[in-house]
Amino acid sequence: MPLISTRALTKRYPRGVTALDGLTVEIGEGVIGLVGANGAGKSTLIKILLGLIPATSGEAHVLDFDAATQGERIRERVGYMPEHDCLPPDVSATEFVTHMARVSGMPGGAARERTADVLRHVGLYEERYRQIGGYSTGMKQRVKLAQALVHDPRLLFLDEPTNGLDPAGRDEMLELIQRIGRDFGIAVVVASHLLGEIERVAGWLVAIDAGKLLRTATLGSFTERTGQLLVETEEPAGPLADRLVARGLQAIADGRTVVVDLESGAHGDFAVFDAVRDEVIGLEMALIRVEHRRHQLEDLFRTGGGDERAA
């Protein structure tokens, strides 16, 4: 049973903006990256899944509850860390997180106990008794994470959790997210426009663009081999490509690189490697590298969102 499933989910805002456009997706356990450019519909999707805003059409289920009618049941078991600042400056982290635990429906004693636990898990110690107003951005992000975690949710939505953090803070936050997904057994949906970060924490990716599902798959399959060989040479690679094509291979030159289709070799990969070697020697070229070409996460958006940017 997926933790989240949507079917033809569409959200149109009054002024004609379509934030989600027939999105159908299923999301399961682990750390899931929800990637897309700013404005791709990530935050809108999270708000619909939390039952905070209604969808224009389509359905969404979270933990088997209908987001349109059972929002309260969902929100009791789900944690949410918004993108923007959301902390009052004049209370301590302990007070604030305890209060938020109680507003999640926890009894007072349990709320205090779990607040202490969770603040320790996110790495706030003595400073938790100080007023939040004096905290650094990194500490505030930790408080935001703690309030999302304090009621022991089954599922966590983190919207751009590394926003405003310096590189060190970013690393710590990503490590924390990984721990939550792996050690705490809480499914985490991380929305981000930073592919490099998502690559580091997520095992599964959901890529959306302009409110449409671009692709959903394991991280590995996003970056798997493409079945092409990338050959980089010191000199312009045109002649090499010509020789390879003459041997019956599919090869395209681009500046100092040639991309050779491995499947086009009649005698398997090794024959292609041999052909490349022989032709490079024959042309007396200097070889810089030969490698299997892999998909890059960015490729997704180059093909998906590229048209729009060009228009």
Binding site: E72, R75, L87, H99, V103, M106, P107, D152, D183
Partner: protein, 294 residues
């Protein structure tokens, strides 16, 4: 690997523990907001300075009841300083001060620092949040609008020579005490919260609340003097005289100093005006909180 000593201050990670206990849902969550709101209203868990106005107001509101009881005990029924009818009108000035000081605490920072999305992502609805805040302020106001009159009521019975007879004498006032106390607390609480919900900072909210009541009070006193149609409508400028008029409409018992007595406007109009005040306040709150993006 050499066995290095653990750095001082290391906290051993005992691992993440899941929570298996009860979850109180929407009702528990709303109750938690009311509870936290009441603490805010009375400055609990805050500096001594933030307790001065709420507790000072409560003490001042109770003072006439205390004085009246003391006189009753010492001098018998010779003089009656404070009647049930005039009590709220006489301490009325404390209500705007209490609201101006404490209502901004309830709503302004949540709005200003964008805390509301954190509330709304929990098992409550938007309306629960508003109702909980209103309940906290109303309960707080009851310490001014109901508690002193109940003290006076109980005190007068206990101070009487024949307690049983006194119960019979006083009991007739109880519905007025309770209904009027509730009506004052709910209406002034709603109006105060609505004004505060529109303010960007706590100081502006406090100023706006004071301005509405002060301007209303002064204007109603000034305009009621010349009489005529204008004078008859003057009490409607002041929420406190509107409420006093509504009380008189429901239970009778005019108060000499209130502009309601000098205006001559039919009393049912005060009832309608009270309903209008509540409707406008709740309307402002509904629109304001619907427009917050989650």
């Amino acid at each position: 690997m050499s066995a290095l000593p653990e750095p001082a201050g290391t906290i051993y990670d005992i691992g993440y523990r899941h929570y298996e206990g009860p979850r109180l849902g929407r009702r528990g969550a709303t109750g938690a907001i009311v509870g936290a709101g009441l603490r805010a209203v009375f400055g609990m868990g805050r500096s001594a300075r933030s307790k001065i106005i709420p507790w000072g107001a409560v003490i001042l509101a109770l003072l006439p009841a205390g004085v009246a009881l003391a006189i009753k005990v010492l001098a018998g029924d010779l003089i009656e300083l404070y009647s049930y009818d005039s009590y709220l009108w006489n301490i009325g000035g404390l209500l705007p001060i209490f609201v101006a000081a404490q209502a901004p605490e309830l709503v302004v920072n949540d709005m200003r620092h964008h805390v509301l999305p954190l509330y709304f992502s929990r098992p409550i609805r938007r309306v629960d949040y508003v109702v909980a805040k209103l309940a906290a302020l109303t309960i707080g106001l009851l310490a001014l609008t109901l508690l002193p009159l109940l003290v006076l009521f109980v005190g007068r019975i206990l101070a009487a020579e024949d307690v049983l007879a006194a119960i019979g004498d006083e009991a007739g006032a109880l519905p007025m005490i309770v209904v009027s106390g509730l009506l004052h607390a709910v209406t002034i609480g709603s109006l105060g919260l609505a004004i505060c919900s529109l303010a960007a900072r706590r100081a502006y909210a406090a100023g706006a609340v004071l301005a509405v009541f002060l301007v209303g009070s002064v204007a109603s006193q000034i305009f009621v003097e010349p009489g005529g149609t204008f004078g008859a409508l003057a009490p409607f400028l002041n929420p406190l005289s509107v409420l006093d008029g509504a009380r008189q409409w429901l239970f009778g018992g005019p108060v000499a100093e209130s502009p309601v007595s000098s205006s001559g406007a039919p009393l049912y109009l005060y009832g309608l005006a009270t309903i209008a005040l509540l409707a406008v306040s709740w309307g402002i709150l509904a629109v304001r909180y619907r427009r917050i993006t989650a």
